[in-house]
């Protein structure tokens, strides 16, 4: 939305520079004959003329009327021409009104005095019409030029101020979106030096529900506004996905998909991602288009993670799941360094680049406490006074300190946890409450992968819906097979819900860490209803949804659940079902 007029446009249309109006002149002379002569010549050209017969009167006229040029006599009783000119100059700072002295004096020193007093030129008496007109035209041209330039300067100033204000607002939005307080992680130090007010570099940190720490360093192509616009939505996406428990690989696929959809073709996001898995003592790194991420132990580089993939947002994923972090054991005494290319591509005056070895040298030779001072200092010296061309972000992760102080596993430790949740819903409750969103949030909190959550949703949803609609409400699902029946079915469902007085559903969800044969956990979902059961064997015989008479026919849900679970067992007479879902699959 446009809140202010565009100052550039405003400047040129107001035409502060090129005055279309008739120029007006102030003629100052105590001799009426001289004044009249000048007035005649000027009026003949259509100019507007005001006269004043003394310095004092000239000042009064000048103050009340907007004149474009002054013709000034020097020798006058009272205030002379020099003084009058000085005073005019004192009031007129912005508009530039040329003062031309009209004088019979030829003494060089007097003429110099005219200029010192603030005059611009002189016209000699006796007045020659040709000379007078030539000088006036010349000064009108100069004045027009001056005014145009001033107007443009003002417009540019206003534009610049507005731009800075907008950038400042944007900077604050970007900063808040990046959630810099989330970067308060023990052992994490970082520095961030944008080339402009806005930066296309982004550094984010968040915990997955299982307690693992994720650090995301990104660098949008370019710098300044264009690069920074993507930052807030990326930050939101990262925080959402991490909080929801997305696996890092899934998260990167998702970000790639979104960026590919929204970014113009020439823009992309170089990315380095770090995951610290406290429970298993692992460090995972993925680098796509960033300078090498470096692991240092006891003053030596023990590992370099070079860019191994295309940056995010470049291509549409053909084979999702390809992006995997490279995991290794967390080494004692190790520190991880990563930076954006503003560091390695810093150029010396002779064109040489700081390079990734420049960063490694600076890191290895640094003093103990002031890494960033040292690295930035080294960079400054290297650039030799040249301006910073790109955003610079650099971080250090002290893994010992992080493990000692930052190991918050919280409630999210799904691995190894054995838990059970049971909901017993009576008739009044099933009418009012849908337990599914709560259960899905619970899985998310416990760190279940996104991939598993959709499948678990289907399992729990189908079994619960069957228990409610057939067990408790006693509806006949064969109704659903044509459009009218479908509507009718849901109309009957609503009616039955309204009438419902009796009935119960017992929904139990449990996690067994040793539940599957491959050492992965399994979720067991058990649903029991107060109904009389059904002919479950008929449905258990159909293995393929295609084998059912109509895709909308009863039992479709059961087939879906069976294809997702290791086992689905109905207990006689069919009002209790147990499904085992493996995380391994």
């Amino acid at each position: 939305m446009e809140r202010m007029g565009d100052p550039l446009m405003a400047g040129s249309s107001a035409g502060g520079g090129v005055t279309e109006e008739t120029p007006s002149f102030l003629v100052v002379d105590d001799e009426p004959v001289n004044a009249m002569l000048l007035q005649m010549i000027l009026s003949a050209r259509g100019f507007r003329v005001i006269t004043a017969s003394s310095g004092e009167e000239a000042l009064a006229r000048f103050a009340e009327d907007r004149v474009d040029m002054v013709l000034m006599d020097i020798m006058m009783p009272g205030m002379d021409g020099y003084e009058t000119t000085r005073r005019i100059r004192a009031v007129d700072r912005e508009r530039f009104v040329p003062v031309l002295f009209v004088t019979a004096l030829t003494d060089e020193q007097r003429l110099a005095q005219c200029i010192e007093a603030g005059g611009d030129d002189f016209i000699t008496k006796p007045i020659s019409r040709v000379q007078l007109n030539a000088k006036i035209d010349s000064w009108l041209r100069t004045q027009a030029l001056y005014r145009t330039v001033t107007a443009q300067r003002d417009a540019l100033d206003a534009h610049q101020r507005r731009l800075e204000m907008e950038q400042e607002t944007a900077r604050r939005i970007v900063e808040r979106a990046s959630g810099s307080n989330a970067l308060e992680v023990p052992g994490l130090r970082y520095c961030y030096s944008p080339a402009d007010i806005l930066s296309g570099d982004i550094l984010l940190a968040a915990r997955r529900p299982n307690g693992n720490l994720m650090i995301f360093l990104g660098d949008f192509t370019g710098h300044g506004i264009g690069a920074a616009v993507g930052v807030p939505s990326l930050a939101t996406l990262f925080h959402d996905l991490t909080r929801r428990g997305s696996h890092p690989g899934e998260m990167l696929d998702e970000i790639n998909t979104r960026l590919f959809a929204v970014l113009p073709p020439e823009m992309f996001l170089a990315t380095a991602v770090v995951e610290v898995d406290f429970a298993h003592g692992k460090l995972g790194v993925w680098n796509a288009g960033m300078p090498p991420v470096v692991l240092v132990q006891d003053g030596e580089v023990v590992r370099r993670y070079d860019s191994s993939d295309l940056p995010l947002g470049v291509v549409r994923d053909q084979a999702p799941g390809r992006r995997q972090l490279e995991y290794s054991d967390l080494l004692p005494g190790s520190v991880l360094y990563a930076c954006s290319d503003g560091v390695v591509e810093a150029a010396a005056p002779d064109g040489a680049l700081f390079g990734s070895d420049g960063l490694e040298r600076a890191v290895l030779e640094r003093g103990d406490d002031d890494l960033f001072g040292d690295v930035l200092g080294a960079l400054d010296r290297f650039r030799g006074g040249a301006a910073q061309r790109d955003d610079i972000t650099l971080f250090e992760l002290d893994l010992d300190r992080l493990r000692a102080e930052g190991n918050e596993t919280g409630i999210g430790r799904a691995d190894g946890a054995r838990w059970q949740a049971q909901l017993i819903l009576d008739a009044t409750t099933v009418v009012r409450v849908n337990p599914l969103p709560a259960i899905m949030n619970f899985f998310a909190e416990l760190g279940a992968l996104e991939a598993h959550r959709q499948r678990l949703y289907v399992v729990v949803s189908e079994l619960y819906t069957n228990a409610l609609e057939h067990g408790v409400l006693g509806l006949d699902s064969t109704l659903k097979k044509d459009p009218d029946g479908f509507e009718e079915y849901y109309r009957l469902r609503a009616e039955a819900m309204e009438r419902l007085k009796e009935g119960q559903i017992r929904l139990t969800v449990s996690h067994d860490p040793d539940g599957d044969r491959n050492g992965y956990g399994a979720v067991v979902v058990e649903v029991e209803d107060s109904g009389g059961g059904f002919d479950y064997q008929r449905y258990m015989e159909a293995n393929d949804p295609g084998a059912l008479p109509h895709p909308l026919a009863a039992g479709h849900g059961i087939v879906l659940v069976r294809s997702l679970c290791r086992e689905v067992v109905y207990h006689h007479p069919g009002n209790r079902v147990t499904a085992v879902y493996e995380f391994h699959s």
Partner: protein, 101 residues
């Protein structure tokens, strides 16, 4: 509104976007979205913002398919997440619908 529908290509394409949980609670609204459409030859269900879907959603898609073929149109499912796509594939819906990116 969990379902947003927009007509495109001079009204020949109807795009229905389903947000959040795609389950039985949307059955009326979903039907409403296409029931009175006229001159539509292509129905697109955009599943980009669909968080979860279950078999009643599959049922609703089949009803749409029936409606479309009665009116000489076709149905495409667009922008499914990997997981939603997996559910569609388990149900063999790729045989019934065009699934596009």
């Amino acid at each position: 509104m969990p379902i947003q529908s927009v007509q495109q290509d001079n009204g020949q394409t109807l795009v229905m976007k389903v947000r959040g949980h795609f389950d039985f609670s949307l059955h009326k609204e979903f039907r409403q979205a296409y029931k009175n459409s006229e001159g539509v030859s292509r129905y697109v269900v955009d599943l980009m913002d669909t968080e979860y879907m279950d078999s009643s959603a599959l049922g609703m898609l089949l009803l749409l398919r029936e409606f479309a073929s009665d009116h000489g149109g076709e149905v495409a499912l667009r922008s499914c997440s990997r997981e939603v796509r997996k559910i569609l594939e388990i149900a063999n819906f790729q045989r019934l619908f065009r699934i596009e990116d």
